[in-house]
Amino acid sequence: MTVESGAATTAALSQALPPDEPAPDGLVQLLTPEGERIDHPDYPLDLSAADIKGLYRDLVLVRRIDTVAISLQRQGELGIWASLLGQEAAQIGSGRALSPRDMVFPTYREHGVAWCRGIDPVKLLELYRGVSHGGWAPEEHKFHLYTIVIGAQTLHATGYAMGLQRDGAVGGDRGEAVIVYFGDGATSQGDVNEAFVWASVFNAPIVFYCQNNQWAISEPLEKQSRVPLYQRARGFGFPGLRVDGNDVLACYAVTQKAMQAAREGQGPTLIEAFTYRMGAHTTTDDPTRYRLASELEVWKLRDPIERVRAYLARTGLAEPEFFAEVDEEAKQVGARVREACRTMPDPPPLAIFDHVYAEPTAILRAEREQYAAYLDSFDGESAR
């Protein structure tokens, strides 16, 4: 993808948010909910038709994977699933703005970002099916394992960014940076605030990407903060901005610029992607107990996929066949994921004992042997 990023500097970022005049909760938006392309002076964006069609394809495919995963949970094939419904643009826009060398630290809901990093969706399902705690190779994909304890990964990401500094990987043409994902609820965690302090003090090359989906399970944003979340950054000493999290183009543009600033050694940025969790927190949650259906209806009008479709169709950048092809591909991807999940074998019982330490300790070896003997004591069935 090609982007007219211009000179992405901290100064430029601050121009979007004059220090004395915080943007009046204004979103950076490049594509309206109706599919109108609008310009923003700080975020010129020149994506080709093929690029935008690529983003549309990503959005549709990850939504399909999500839909399939929810069904698989309902059918008993997954223990639980954390749906990304409604957050596709926030994830695909930011995920596609990264360079292959950038490192990503996700929460447990970043299925769209995982997609952008080339993680097979089936690997995500392993975790929710209960056959692994995350089966992908983090360094190979530059995508760390999902972190479930809220906010803990922000510190890992900051430390990793400090490692980049020590490796001399900041600045120059081959600069690297880190992006860390977290939610609105996480901003109340001590770890997230400590990460802000560390990143600021050490000027770490990191982008804090907060998907504000308005709900931390049942608690609305006003239970977490009395100020817009992006404004928190200023108190820590780095720029913050709010982007329309349902606008894939805007999410792409702001992430691209903030990451470039980080790679160049200009320190951290907080991006608040203002979006909405259209589904339940997880498949065990029941949002009807705490929020009104009318709220969801409002957000359905801001759907992250529909506006791209409307834009592509109205401008003639995409023919009807394109949409049919993407739908067909989504069906195929969904079918493959469903089949792979259903046929996914359980790990052998003795795998419990693997990889606790670099080398198994004597105590672990003894427990493993005892349990193996116990399993072997059952006649007939091959217990292991």
Binding site: H133, A152, L155, H156, M162, E194, W198, D354
Partner: protein, 327 residues
């Protein structure tokens, strides 16, 4: 051989680690210019620079959490937690993140992080400065937990811990920081006893006295006193609290037939309980008496004017040894 305090021996060990591996970092509160509140890192920032010896913001979860990130990038961070009672803000990062990363990644991720914690009482400190939280970490799979008791071990074990590809919780007996001992700083640690092995600190035949960290010296003094009463006490310095060196423990108890465990931490659900269960299981027909424990009470750490009652001293340890002969 050089005569060093335990604190200085740690300093020399850290220096060697920094010299031998450019990926080794030291990070913590006041570890730079000040050299740490116990001066364990004295002079290291001056010699290795601020990017390798890092004065961090004052937040323990941040120290361990960013150390994890640095380790993910290929570094070997050595974190200092200033006092035992300040480790709890980092508990999630240690227990849920650091300890489990290798397991949850199916062996694809190593986190070679060492966390140094000055531990134990006896220095007349205010609360939260005298605790012995080792069993909280020993109970956590994925962590190695070790405790040094003398300068020679301090020098070798800190280097072994840093070299380990597993995360290590490294307990330093703070009231022994100023104890002196002979240390062979010229030789590497290759010939040193592996850090997951216990050491027979004093051979004996009548009773095995197991301990670690600050009470090893007290146990040796108790053994000397018992000798005057005609009892031959074998003192074993466990050194590794997780995993336990069962072979050394078993061999000693099978030889003596009696076992007393001493630690500063509360006896209740302490490391002694685990050892007693294992000794009973593995040495049942060799035992002349039940395994006995002596340690802190099932109370919070008391105000320091009472700590001499709380901490097992020579007399309380001898009392336990006496009881082991009463069956």
């Amino acid at each position: 051989m050089t005569t060093l305090t335990l604190s200085r021996a740690l300093n020399e060990g850290l220096r060697k680690a920094l010299e031998n591996d450019p990926k080794v970092l030291i990070m913590g509160e006041d570890v730079g210019k000040l050299g740490g509140v116990f001066r364990v890192t004295d002079g290291l920032q001056k010699d290795f620079g601020e990017t390798r010896v890092i004065d961090t913001p004052l937040a323990e979860s941040g120290i361990v959490g960013t150390a994890i990130g640095l380790a993910l990038r290929g570094y070997r961070p050595v974190c200092e937690i200033q006092f035992d009672g300040f480790v709890y803000p980092a508990f999630d990062q240690i227990v849920s993140q650091l300890a489990k990363m290798r397991y949850r990644s199916r062996g694809q991720v190593s986190l070679p992080v060492t966390i140094r914690i000055p531990c134990g009482g006896g220095i007349g400190a205010v609360e939260h400065h005298s605790e012995s939280p080792e069993v909280l970490f020993a109970h956590t799979a994925g962590l190695r937990v070790v405790a040094c008791a003398d300068p020679a071990d301090a020098f070798a074990m800190i280097q072994q811990s840093i070299s380990s590809d597993d995360p290590v919780i490294f307990f330093e007996p703070k009231r022994r920081y100023w104890d002196k001992g002979e240390v062979d700083t010229a030789n590497g640690v290759a010939s040193a006893l592996p850090f997951d092995r216990a050491r027979v600190a004093l051979e004996g035949t009548d009773v095995t006295l197991l301990s670690y960290g600050p009470l090893v010296r007290t146990c040796l003094e108790s053994a000397a006193a018992a000798r005057e009463d005609g009892r031959s006490v074998e003192v074993v310095d466990l050194r590794s609290l997780s995993p336990l060196d069962e072979d050394t423990i078993r061999a000693s108890v099978r030889k003596t037939g009696r076992c007393v465990i001493a630690h500063e931490a509360p006896v209740y659900a302490g490391l002694g309980a685990e050892i007693a269960a294992r000794v009973t299981e593995q040495c049942f027909y060799h035992l002349e008496a039940p395994v006995l424990r002596v340690g802190g009470f099932a109370t919070p750490y008391p105000p320091s004017r009472l700590e001499e009652h709380y901490l097992p001293d020579l007399d309380r340890i001898l009392d336990a040894v006496d009881r082991a002969f009463g069956f």
